[in-house]
């Protein structure tokens, strides 16, 4: 072995020695974590959770999701924004489910009049923005000739703005409601890919347009008017096709 001087002698060693004298701070931190855990249990047990109260208050409905839902007909392909909608011209499937009170309700298929299914998630801020627009249009008589059915879906009591029944009641939702299952069976039958989701169907039960995302009131009004008159729907986005395209 040579005694060649180490040229890196000033460089600190890459290994460290234990600093047992300062280990008290580690135990202090672990102690703090344990104390915080106890505090969390006590706070929640005392009913003082620091939840900011985003969940809606009020008496919940009998059902927030459908215990059972049956689908009749062909499932629509998944809606993709920006591509030609292959569901146009297909017969809308029919779902048999219940509303918030548990009363049976059927949505989809041919009803003899044009209608729109509006799929809404209570936790989705875009749905929360869209619902008042639909309510305003209905109260202003601007949805005449078109039936609207709301489909609360994606429902989970772990997410904000639960339950959907309280949310829609708060918004004075004037339309019938057809509940989806917790596994969104109904939404999948209509090809939902995002919220809010609209499926527009003519009186013969043919899909004439689908779109996902918020729609401004003026455009929404134009869509409903076109749907009532059997005209091409002025849907937003490249994927917004209608039966006459």
């Amino acid at each position: 072995m040579s005694n060649t001087p180490n040229r890196k002698s000033r460089r600190p060693p890459v290994t460290s020695t234990p600093a047992s004298s300062n280990r008290w701070i580690v135990w202090a931190v672990l102690g703090v974590i344990a104390v915080v855990a106890v505090i969390a249990v006590v706070v929640v047990a005392a009913g003082g959770s620091s939840d900011d109260g985003t969940a809606a208050k009020g008496k919940p409905a009998k059902f927030e999701t459908a215990p059972e839902l049956t689908v009749d007909g062909t499932t629509l392909p998944r809606f993709e924004t920006g591509s030609r909608d292959t569901a146009i011209g297909m017969t809308a499937p029919t779902i048999d489910t219940v509303d918030f009170s548990g009363a049976p309700i059927q949505a989809g298929g041919a009803t003899g009049s044009p209608y729109a299914l509006v799929f809404l998630a209570h936790w989705c801020p875009h749905c929360q923005a869209e619902v008042p627009r639909l309510v305003d249009l209905a109260q202003g008589g601007k949805i005449a000739g078109v039936d609207v059915i709301g489909v609360p879906t994606g429902t989970t009591d772990q997410a904000p703005n639960y339950p959907p029944s309280s949310w829609l009641a708060r918004e004075d939702w004037p339309f019938p409601v057809a509940l989806d299952t917790t596994k969104t069976k109904g939404a999948q039958a209509f090809g939902l890919s995002g919220y809010p989701y609209f499926v527009f169907v003519d009186a013969q039960g043919k899909v004439v347009g689908r779109t996902s995302g918020e729609i401004e009131p003026d455009q929404l009004e134009g869509i409903f008017q076109a749907l009532a008159k059997g005209q091409t729907l002025p849907l937003p986005g490249a994927g917004a096709s209608s039966s006459t395209r």
Binding site: P12, P13, V14, T15, S16, T17, P18, A19, S21, N22, R23, I25, V26, V29, L30, V32, I33, V36, A37, I39, A40, V41, V43, V44, A45, S49, S50, D51, D52, T54, A121, W123, C124, P125, H126, C127, G154, Q158, A159, P160, T184, A187, L192, S193, G194, Y195, P196, Y197, S212, G213, E214
Partner: protein
Amino acid sequence: MDHVDVANTFFTILTLLANAAVIVAVVLALGALVSTRMRELGVGVLTTVGPSARLLAWIVATVTTLGSLYYSEIANFVPCRLCWYQRICMYPLAVILLIGLLLRDRRVRWYAAPFVVVGAPLSLYHWLVERVEFFAKSSACSAEAPCTVPWFQELGYVTLAFMALSAFLLIGTLLAADWGAERITESPTETEMSP
């Protein structure tokens, strides 16, 4: 008693403590630039915390990792795309820092630092996506696991993304403390320099 409520409260308090620790560290670091007393105070804190900083950073990374797994596997909060990117940055920290501790390798902070440097901005971006429409860049919520909608929000701003951001910042602060403490212990004192 809902275990998710307990977890939310537990991790929210830890988040606030992490924020407090980072703020104190930043104040000390800035104060040291202008005040001798603050510098002495900072050196005192570094001398106290520094030798255990890597162990503390590992504890933070491990608690964060376990919390993340709790929310996805037990509370069934499905992680969104941005959540996964943050996980990619956080989970290795729990492993890398542990190996560094076992090998007593001080260079581990440099191996860990890139995960913090990438993870913290990701968490900040996710938090902004949740809160600011400009960052969301969409008028729809994804049907799978939307990045725009937090699973919960405590105190009006503490979400899972904010918790992750707080953890990344605290780990980064502790790694910086580890580096600072090493520099202090290696710097020749005035006594050592005098003949």
